[in-house]
Symmetry: C2
């Protein structure tokens, strides 16, 4: 269910409409950037590409800059336009979600840092299959979360919240696998610890995608489903 | 330097003043609660107190509820009072900081969960000295961050940002110690991993305290020092 039309339809000021559209666009631009950062960090890790990892670390500064800019933009809209109801929900949600994007950027940076360390050590890969799988999963969640925001699609957002439980299971399984590698041979410990931190970072990316999805539901439905049960969230969205 | 007087002094509406004061108070109430949660979680862990750990996990629901309430309260103030300038900075900062408090609550809950697991396993403690030390350090940072908010004291806030680098060093040192325990005897691995997650959770508490401090500087000085260098933050605060 797409609600993108009615959110802009009823403003007297065209300029206000433009400002809200621009805020959305800037948020999605930043979202696209952190999505790429996360994908590049995982690619750098699993391919031992130190150069790409270094680029990810550099580019995090740009992500940080965008966070500040979007916060300023949102604050300016509140001060000048005094939005209420649905518009205010949009602006405040962007202020909340931009922090999630910045943290996803941080997790990508951490992953890139660990990728560089692992590339230098240059031993046999351990747990890379798990990193690739979970990386692909949370990457898709983030992509869908941004898409659900772009289309203000609360049902798609609900699906992301469902996925989060699956990622948690995958993460637990992967952590157990790595623990086994560590116990088999203490020489694996240091290396496996690095991969463990990467898995944790990816699991956090999934959490942040989930937070974004919860805000999308709030924007569309006006009800806050953070900390709610899955059943409660389903009721709010009025899903299948 | 305390700035608490002038933030309320110039409103025509007494009720608006009351609403801002109440928002601050509710934030500090939630802050006090997560401070206690973090302290209890560490105590539960280092004393093997499963009962206390269970209480911390239960109480996290209350923390979550406060997050939603304060967000609603802040949104209502924006919609009704249309604050600008310094007042708007206060309200938006509360919206940002309340997410940090909720995450500190989450880290306390994670720590409590690990405390219960470690209490059940009942083996010799490893790394508990480190947990206690870092726990005390980040607990103090959180306390000071809330205090700097209560008094709108940007110099105290700056001190917390300085502390964060020290906590990171302590964390790195503690992680190395645990890695050594793991390599010495593979039977330590599972247990040391749990303690490692606790250390990471505590390090995150320090990060969130630091975020709160950055928002206090923003509220007082009107300049955003997130992602700024220490020198830049010092310039903004105009400290020694």
């Amino acid at each position: 269910m797409s609600n993108q039309d009615d959110i802009y339809g009823d403003h007297i000021s065209h300029q206000f409409n433009d400002e809200l559209a621009s805020l959305k666009e800037d948020f999605l631009h930043m979202g696209g950037m952190v999505e790429q950062q996360a994908a590049d960090a995982i690619h750098a890790l699993t391919n031992g590409d130190g150069e790409l990892a270094s680029q990810v670390r550099q580019k995090d500064k740009e992500v940080d800059r965008l966070e500040l800019e979007i916060d300023e933009e949102a604050t300016r809209i509140i001060a000048r336009r005094q939005p209420t109801a649905r518009d205010l929900r949009l602006v405040i949600s962007v202020i909340k979600m931009v922090a999630d994007l910045e943290r996803i950027g941080d997790e990508a940076k951490k992953t890139a840092k660990l990728a560089m360390r692992l590339a230098e050590e240059g031993q046999a890969p351990r747990g890379y299959v798990e990193v690739r799988n979970i990386g692909r999963h949370v990457g898709q969640m983030l992509h869908d979360a941004l898409d659900s925001f772009a289309r203000l699609d609360s049902e798609q957002a609900l699906e992301i919240i469902r996925e989060d439980a699956r990622v948690d299971e995958e993460y637990q399984g992967a952590a157990r696998t790595l623990l086994t590698f560590m116990m088999e041979d203490p020489r694996n410990i240091s290396r496996c610890m690095s991969v463990m931190w990467v898995l944790r970072a990816l699991e956090r990316v999934g959490d942040h995608a989930c937070n974004i999805a919860e805000h999308v539901i709030f924007m569309v439905k006006g009800e806050d489903v953070r900390h709610a049960s899955m059943e409660e969230a389903e009721r709010v969205v009025g899903g299948p």
